[in-house]
C-alpha cells in the first residue's frame, strides 16, 4: 500500500464513514377511540440502541427498553405508536436502533 492509497482510504473513511439503513417503519393504533390533534395531545418518543461487534449479539432487550421508556413519558392515554428499526454501520461493528413515537393524550 502506498501513501496515495492510504490517503484515498482515509478520505473515503471520512466521506462514507457512517452509513445507515432503515429496515422498517411501522405505524398503527389510530383507532375509533383516537382523539383529534389538540393542545392536550403531544408526541412523545423513546430511543434505544444495541452495539454489535463482529456479529455477536446475545439479546434484543433494547426493544423492551424503548417501550418502557416510551410508557414512562406519557401518564395519560398513549395512542398511535410508530416504530422505526434501523442500523448504523461501522468498522467491524454496527449499532441497531429502535425509535418509538406515540401520541399522548393527557
Amino acid at each position: 500500500m502506498n501513501f496515495k492509497l492510504v490517503f484515498t482510504l482515509a478520505f473515503t473513511l471520512l466521506v462514507t464513514g457512517c452509513t445507515h439503513s432503515i429496515h422498517m417503519v411501522h405505524t398503527d393504533g389510530f383507532g375509533a377511540s383516537m382523539t383529534p390533534k389538540t393542545e392536550s395531545t403531544k408526541i412523545v418518543e423513546a430511543n434505544s440502541e444495541q452495539t454489535v461487534f463482529l456479529f455477536f449479539a446475545f439479546d434484543t432487550d433494547y426493544v423492551d427498553q424503548a417501550k418502557a421508556d416510551l410508557e414512562s413519558k406519557c401518564h395519560g392515554d398513549l395512542q398511535a405508536i410508530s416504530t422505526q428499526y434501523s442500523t448504523s454501520h461501522g468498522f467491524l461493528h454496527w449499532t441497531n436502533k429502535i425509535l418509538m413515537k406515540g401520541i399522548c393524550a393527557s
Partner: protein
C-alpha cells in the same frame, strides 16, 4: 470507454422497484366515510463498495485495478451491518411520518394503515422509500 458506456446503459435500463416490507392494520368501515391519505419520505442510497468494485472491473491498468479492489474491501469493512436496500448517509428522513399522518386527518381516526418499505434501484444507487398509506375516517 465502450465498457463504461455499456455499464452506464445497463444501470439506466436496469432501474427496478423493490419491495422490502409491507404490513397492514385493522380496516374499520363502520364509523364513517373513508378518505385516502398518504405519507411518503425517501433518501438517496448508494452502495459504495459496489461502485468501487465496478470501477475496479473497468480499470484498464492492473495497478489501479488492485487499488480499487482494496478500496472496495476497505469500504465493506467500515460499513458492516445488516442492510435493507442500499445504505443511506442520513437516518432521520423517516422520523416524522407519525406526525405527518396525524396532521392529514382532522378527526384523528385513521384506519387501514399500510406500512410499506420499498426502493427504486438503479444499480448501486437507489431511492430508499418509506411510505404509509391509510384511510382517514371522516
Amino acid at each position: 470507454m465502450q465498457k463504461l458506456i455499456l455499464v452506464s446503459a445497463l444501470l439506466l435500463l436496469g432501474a427496478c422497484a423493490r419491495l422490502d416490507h409491507v404490513q397492514i392494520g385493522d380496516i374499520d368501515q363502520s364509523n364513517g366515510a373513508l378518505s385516502p391519505i398518504s405519507v411518503k419520505v425517501s433518501e438517496n442510497g448508494v452502495e459504495m463498495a459496489v461502485v468501487a468494485g465496478v470501477a475496479a472491473e473497468l480499470a484498464s491498468q492492473s495497478k489501479r485495478n488492485q487499488q480499487l479492489k482494496e478500496i472496495r474491501d476497505f469500504l465493506a469493512l467500515i460499513n458492516m451491518g445488516p442492510r435493507t436496500g442500499n445504505p443511506v448517509f442520513f437516518d432521520t428522513y423517516a422520523q416524522n411520518v407519525l406526525d405527518a399522518l396525524y396532521q392529514q386527518c382532522a378527526s384523528g381516526k385513521i384506519t387501514g394503515i399500510r406500512n410499506i418499505r420499498e426502493g427504486k434501484t438503479y444499480g448501486p444507487v437507489s431511492g430508499e422509500i418509506v411510505r404509509i398509506d391509510a384511510d382517514c375516517i371522516l
